[in-house]
């Protein structure tokens, strides 16, 4: 997979078939995944509008997940024939397509990890003050939404910055995280 194709993928400039193929190629190439993460993260932080560059592809990943509820709720899978024995309801057949979707999930999970968000849904105990009890993993969409806001806030956050370097220093630092995941 060429970098140019990766860029087109990020920009949503590929046809559906090309996108499908590009995602396949991306999933098969860890180094290219790193490049994708790096491109996405840097674009997201630099661009005032947040994670614009990746939204198309991330949407596709999210859509893939949404279209495959069995990944999220494996109990809903239809029984699978396994040599004459009916599989248990909670057995997930890992066929090619499902492997691919699981890979989508892996990418999505890695993307979420980039943001390094600790998310806590709240039951407010005091008006205006959030309770911090209870945690849950944020969904892909929630993670994206928070990331976008953090990125946009970063452009205006100057306090404690070393000469205003903070925002871009975090980008540089952030891509280290990307590269090692």
């Amino acid at each position: 997979m060429k970098n140019q194709t990766l860029s087109q993928l990020l920009d949503g400039e590929l046809s559906p078939d090309q996108t499908e193929q590009a995602i396949d190629d991306l999933l098969a190439n860890p180094k290219m995944q790193e490049s994708w993460y790096a491109q996405h993260t840097i674009r997201a932080v630099i661009k005032n509008g947040g994670a614009q560059a990746s939204c198309n592809i991330v949407d596709k990943v999210a859509a893939a997940i949404a279209n495959e509820p069995t990944i999220i709720a494996p109990d809903n899978l239809p029984p699978v024939s396994t040599g004459g024995h009916q599989a248990a309801d909670n057995v997930v057949p890992i066929g090619q397509k499902r492997t691919k979707i699981l890979s989508y999930v892996a990418i999505a999970a890695s993307f979420a990890a980039i943001v390094m968000v600790s998310y806590s849904p709240q039951q407010a105990s005091t008006p205006g003050i959030a309770d911090t009890t209870g945690t849950a993993a944020p969904s892909m969409a929630v993670t994206q939404e928070f990331q976008s806001m953090i990125v946009q806030h970063g452009e205006f956050s100057g306090a404690a910055a070393l000469n205003g370097l903070v925002a871009y220093a975090k980008v540089v630092n952030g891509s280290t995280t990307v590269a090692t995941r």
Partner: protein, 311 residues
């Protein structure tokens, strides 16, 4: 001047004001470390100060991990990723980055912080004056700053929580104030060896802006002393709809408030988020999702989110 001569907050405030403008005006180069939790990153910076004719320019280069460079030439930013064989050019929508001028916010800062000189020390082999910035209430964090005695460049900075623990810090380990030639801003990677993505044209950025807005938002009563500094309307590529972004500040700290239609948001309930020094608080109101984000205690973002309303 000896550090003992720094007698009061007036001098400390003068240092603060000088610090904010020095960062934009000075030529300097050096290396600094950024520490957050157990993670330490080192970076090299080259900076050419702003003149009457042009804005400041600079280059940051990661010294750890894979090669990464970020080069800022006025309002165009280029990211160079040699290991990935690619580069990215983009145009910034605002010039807020790299600008942190507090010279006109002295009174506001003194209202919410106690600013005191704390003696002198040495950072990056330079004499610097330590300035303690302590919040007068529990709605904001504190800072411990070390400002170059001669050049007024901020050499180190610690963000402190209410208990005085360091949340994150930056510190130069070497710095040089010799004039920086423009050639030093060049990437170490020949541009022709990279595949470039170029988003620096005006069209790509102006398309992000919303043309009109039917509902205006405000944060009433300036909670915790945070006053409106910026009001921005934009199209969110994530939510694919118009969002309103308010930026509030107390002179040093900023809090952003984002308002988006609830039917476009994935955030379903009152929620908060913590990421090191950064906290956020979200709530829903009349079909909108309101999220306050900032490097302030969680109570502050919750209060600001609750005080945000349409008018």
């Amino acid at each position: 001047m000896s550090s003992l001569a720094w007698a009061g907050s007036g001098d400390a405030m003068s240092l603060l004001a000088g610090m904010s403008t020095a960062a934009d005006k000075l030529d300097y180069s050096g290396e600094f470390v950024y520490v957050k939790g157990a993670k330490i990153s080192s970076m090299k910076v080259v900076h050419i100060g702003a003149t009457a004719d042009s804005g400041s320019q600079q280059k940051l280069m990661a010294l750890d991990g894979s090669m990464r460079e970020i080069i800022q030439l006025d309002d165009v930013v280029a990211c160079v990723l040699p290991d990935q064989g690619m580069g990215l050019r983009e145009k910034r929508q605002t010039r807020q980055l790299f600008r942190f001028d507090i010279s006109n916010k002295i009174e506001t800062i003194e209202q919410y912080y106690t600013v005191k000189p704390q003696g002198a020390t040495r950072v990056a082999n330079r004499d610097c004056e330590i300035v303690s910035v302590k919040p007068r209430d529990t709605y904001r964090y504190g800072y411990s700053l070390c400002i170059d005695r001669e050049k007024r460049l901020l050499l180190s900075s610690e963000l402190l929580n209410l208990e005085g623990d360091v949340l994150e810090s930056y510190q130069f380990i070497s710095v040089n104030f010799d004039p920086v030639p423009a050639s030093d801003l060049s990437s170490g990677t020949p541009p022709k060896t990279l595949n470039w993505i170029d988003d620096s044209d005006e069209k790509s950025t102006t398309e992000m802006r919303a043309e009109d807005e039917t509902i205006k938002w405000q944060v009433r009563k300036n909670p915790a002393g945070f006053e409106l500094e910026h009001y921005i309307t934009r199209i969110s590529p994530i939510l694919k709809t118009r969002i309103t972004h308010l930026v509030l500040g107390d002179g040093l700290a900023q809090v952003s408030v984002f308002v988006s239609p609830a039917d476009a948001s994935a955030i379903e309930s009152k929620a908060s988020l913590n990421m090191g020094s950064l906290n956020s608080s979200t709530r829903k109101m009349n079909g909108f999702v309101i999220t306050a984000v900032g490097e302030v205690p969680k109570e502050t973002v919750a209060l600001i989110a609750d005080y945000t309303e349409a008018y």
